[in-house]
Symmetry: C2
Subunit: 436 residues, 2 copies
């Protein structure tokens, strides 16, 4: 590479929180970026919804409301997609890749379902498709999984990858307030969107789990393959019970290599709120912070921690990808793409070994505990903890099981629900992060 | 890439803890490695000191005691250097790079002083020089700094990157035992070498700081540029004082961008045992675990945590590099090399703002505290905490300062040492990880 390398043209699609910061960095850090890339990065245009919105930081001639035309320009080498959603991003990215441009995107919803199609287009055109910012914001997770652990065998990826739900659960644990109240507070503080469904029902975390599982296990995992439960039914009583068990509750995205009795490997990808011991590294990840724990055969347990959302941190991840994609164009190289050679099948949730925490209201009379315990025993499920607190003629009974197939556990809960002595199943959560 | 890509030949130099595990992975994981590289990885030979030592896991014909001949073979594409020390590794690596072979090494001592020379040879030959395993074992640190943060501005890297000293300090904090006793115990458990100087005097941590600072700040930093103090003078009294201040003591490798009053940027790279608040993320990193905290302008604070040493975890990092180097050969690409375009000068330790913890024995009589405080005040150094515990006619006085130039702080300590009322300066340590 000589210092006379020709400029790399960059197009930004979308000027939300992240896009605004990406444009700022592209404009402010030209010297550093050029030195790191080996050629100048030149911003060719920014596609926005409405070019008439005042944007004093961008020269008006760079703004366009025609993203397709911007993507098609001959002097654009790298397209940064920050619009979000499936269409039109899917079309813009595919077009860009097919015409030999590299693409950087933070679009987890798109990637969760269409990485295969997009990676194939990138491979065909021999260009890069980078998406570090799609999972856990500024925290390097995709690159460590794809590159640093390329010579290892990943067993498990478990993370807190949604800031909204982590803010809500952290605040509920701290204040004792209920879910609705805390969600409203999160909305007031800007940590929850007007329609919080994608966050609180775990869709966002499931999309990220699909991306992480695909990469970690070199297989195709889409959002539909991810078992998903949200946090909207978590109560202050659950958090209080968790605390009594020296645990807290976190919404976890878990991607695990599970091995059948006959040695066949499958992938379990699942998102749900779970109890984790306070001593677990993820237990202290509070507020809008994210963290991902990776367990690999040789590396052992690694943890990556940082800011998982927000325009500025996410822009850092986007710009890391942009510099690497640009550098690859200068040096005619390419980063690794998604690979699905292992093609591991998905394990249905029922077959995955988990541990249950079941809280129920029961009649406070002799024989009830024996009857409840019998339902677990009949399905060969060991009980680790039982706590019963009497209250007049009713009692609150909490049972924590040992590990057993999730299907046997949920069957047991269904059987308990039908028992006369059980007035109400107040709560069913899983317990993660323990060795037994 | 077609599935018929020709094999990539690999040579391993050195069969210590790490080399043995690298050879095992190369031999056991051929299918996965081939799928990830896009071509088979073939082990051409392993250079050992004595080919007659029994090594049942390696076919005898692969062993050689002539590393130079192995490096020179035409069918070797990647050389994995795991001998350690400056020579002969320096010569072998240079020769390999000059003849167009990619190199993966875990040799921090060599890299701390010769990365420039070796990176130049790699750039000239358009091949890779990877060294993720040189810092913090299995924990991805080099790749995140070089690639993930390529579009950001790193302000600070602070880490616990030496397992031996972290084991000793963690054990001293836990048991109250003294340094000599704990070092002996570390030796018995295999966590300290027969000659522990490189670890306990901070040379190993300083080499890693030089590597981290070079990459983080795109500048040339060698081991000699790193200010260094070891842990051998840490006493149980220091750890007890630290605990009273809600702190613990860790050996830190700190690489910081410091800005002069006139706005000029310099690099401070330093290794010393320091008090850090118990609430700091590095405070809970115990035993042989390592962790690195990176603070960047846009990404904010990131933390990387995992196993920093040991043959198996370190081999994971080596193999990640091997797969990426091999993949680059299949796809004619190249990873980024060290870059020193920023060429920031080194800040002398005296100019770097730090905070001091000073423990001293003083005469227990009126006026002594005023006299001691006067020495700090005369150099414009604010005092944050004073603790005095009387004991007959003598008292133990602990002073924690606010941030001030290290030179002014050490001058103050020298002045205190000369005071009649100060019987003895028991301990001088720095305090890190606070915002003020």
């Amino acid at each position: 590479m000589s210092s006379a390398s020709k400029p790399i043209g960059v197009a930004v699609l979308g000027m939300g929180n992240v896009g605004t910061e990406v444009v700022r960095i592209l404009t402010e850090s030209t010297g550093d970026l050029q030195a790191r890339v080996g050629a100048p990065l030149e911003l060719r245009g920014v596609a926005v919804r409405d070019i008439n919105t005042a944007r004093p930081s961008i020269p008006a001639e760079l703004l366009t409301d025609d993203p397709a035309a911007l993507v098609a320009r001959d002097d654009v080498d790298i397209v940064i997609e920050l619009i979000g959603g499936i269409e039109p991003p899917r079309t813009h990215i595919r077009t860009a890749l097919q015409s030999g441009k590299s693409v950087v995107t933070a679009n987890k919803a798109l990637l969760a379902d269409y990485t295969g199609e997009l990676a194939a287009a990138a491979a065909e055109a021999r260009v890069d498709l980078y998406f570090e910012a799609a999972v856990a914001g500024a925290i390097p997770v995709i690159r460590p999984l794809m590159q640093s652990l390329a010579g290892d065998t990943v067993q498990r990826v478990a993370g807190i990858v949604n800031g909204t739900t982590n803010f809500i659960l952290s605040a509920m644990a701290e204040t004792g307030a209920d879910y609705a109240e805390t969600l409203a507070e999160a909305g007031r503080l800007g940590y929850a969107e007007a329609d919080p469904t994608a966050d609180v029902e775990g869709y966002d975390a499931a999309a990220k789990a699909a991306i992480l599982a695909s990469i970690a296990f070199h297989s195709r995992v889409t959002a539909a393959d991810v078992y998903r439960e949200g946090i909207s039914s978590i109560t202050p009583a659950d958090l209080a019970s968790a605390a009594q068990l020296d645990c807290t509750i976190k919404l976890l995205s878990i991607c695990e290599r599970v091995v059948d009795a006959d040695g066949a490997q499958r992938i379990s990808a699942r998102v749900y709120p779970a109890l984790i011991p306070l001593s677990h590294p993820l237990a202290t990840v509070n507020g809008v912070f994210n963290a991902v724990v990776v367990e690999a055969e040789n590396a052992g347990r690694l943890m990556f921690y940082g800011q998982g959302a927000g325009g500025v941190p996410t822009a850092s991840a986007v710009m890391g990808d942009v510099v690497m994609a640009a550098r690859n164009r200068v040096y005619s190289g390419r980063g690794p793409l998604e690979s699905t050679y292992a093609s591991l099948p998905i394990a249905p949730i029922g077959s995955v070994p988990t541990r249950y925490y079941v809280a129920m209201e029961v009649a406070d009379r002799p024989g009830v505990l024996a009857q409840v315990a019998g339902e677990f025993a009949s399905r060969d499920i060991g009980i680790a903890v039982v706590r019963q607190e009497g209250a007049q003629d009713r009692a609150r009974l909490v049972v924590v099981t040992h590990r057993a197939p999730d299907g046997a556990l949920s069957e047991t809960v269904a059987a308990l629900e039908k028992m006369d002595a059980v007035t109400k199943i107040s709560s069913v959560l899983r317990l993660e992060g323990t060795d037994d």
